[in-house]
């Protein structure tokens, strides 16, 4: 096997077709997974002995938090690939990630506040985990603001890609903040390997993580299609796609 598969990812019409073919499958599986996981987490899982039913917030909070970080990492890698190899599709992919990432960072913060109030007695504290997640939201805003502020698409790609790559330093800070500093926040939920979580509580969470990843795949592929159409509107493949 050569590098042909890699070059295909750099081809806008190939990616456009890939998105049209696979986004519905990713989206359908994600919807099914989320519904089953919600039923498992809200109805089948027993209440926590300390947190009672408040612990059920974990089924939307932890997968959103995972996405907020995974999307940023994806965006930074795509931006780096775009910078190094000057691949247009990579820049388009990074741009497609940002709004989704910003939304799930906001959901992480919102559900975290709603969980913090009954458990810690406060919606917000300037705690390392909470503060670094808030910084992540500002990084997404900065990335999108920078893109919107620069008229020339190539310059916007380059400048925003540098910001995305530099900002990736925040991802391990968020991830390990609970280990490095004293934090109100509980340590990361251990799901694989040795775990003290009951299986009835654990499987809906595992399924939700998987379904959220599929969901991101679907929504990102659809947004990528919009990015490609905007950038390539003079290309002959766009004409063929729109006529066909």
């Amino acid at each position: 096997m050569g590098w042909a598969w890699f070059h295909r990812f750099g081809s806008p019409p190939w990616i456009y077709g890939f998105s049209r073919r696979w986004a519905p499958w990713f989206g359908g599986l994600a919807a099914l997974g989320i519904l089953v996981a919600l039923y498992g987490g809200l109805v089948l899982a027993p209440a926590d002995y300390q947190q009672k039913d408040a612990f059920r917030i974990v089924y939307v909070h932890a997968p959103s938090a995972m996405l907020s970080l995974a999307i940023y990492a994806t965006m930074a890698i795509a931006a780096a690939v775009g910078l190094i190899w000057r691949i247009k599709v990579a820049h388009a992919a990074a741009a497609a990630c940002a709004p989704i990432g910003a939304w799930f960072t906001a959901v992480t913060l919102g559900t975290g506040m709603l969980w913090g109030k009954p458990m810690w007695g406060t919606y917000w504290a300037w705690d390392p985990r909470l503060t670094s997640e808030l910084v992540l939201l500002f990084l997404y805003f900065g990335y999108m603001g920078l893109r919107a502020a620069i008229e020339d698409p190539q310059k916007a790609d380059k400048a925003s890609a540098v910001l995305a790559v530099v900002g990736v330093v925040n991802v391990p800070i968020i991830r390990f903040s609970v280990d490095w500093w004293n934090s109100l926040h509980q340590p990361a939920t251990r799901l694989l390997g040795e775990s003290d979580m009951d299986w009835a509580m654990k499987w809906p969470l595992l399924l939700m993580f998987l379904a959220f990843m599929l969901y991101f795949g679907a929504v990102m592929l659809v947004r990528l299609r919009a990015e490609l159409l905007r950038r390539e509107r003079n290309a002959s493949w766009v004409r063929e796609v729109l006529r066909g």
Partner: protein, 51 residues
């Protein structure tokens, strides 16, 4: 059923959390599809004026 909705007294925190997450999931699908529809419309318009 009432017991389920009461969430052992945490209903005011659990249900808004779920509403926020599910709302964001649905909204992002809608936003992405709208972005494609708008980009298609613009590309089509351009195609009509140039050809």
């Amino acid at each position: 059923m009432d017991e389920f909705f009461a969430m052992s007294g945490y209903a005011e925190y659990v249900w808004p959390s779920l509403a926020l997450a599910v709302g964001a999931l649905l909204l992002n699908v809608w936003l992405a599809r709208r972005a494609v529809a708008l980009a298609e419309r613009d590309a089509r318009r351009r195609l009509e004026t140039t050809s």
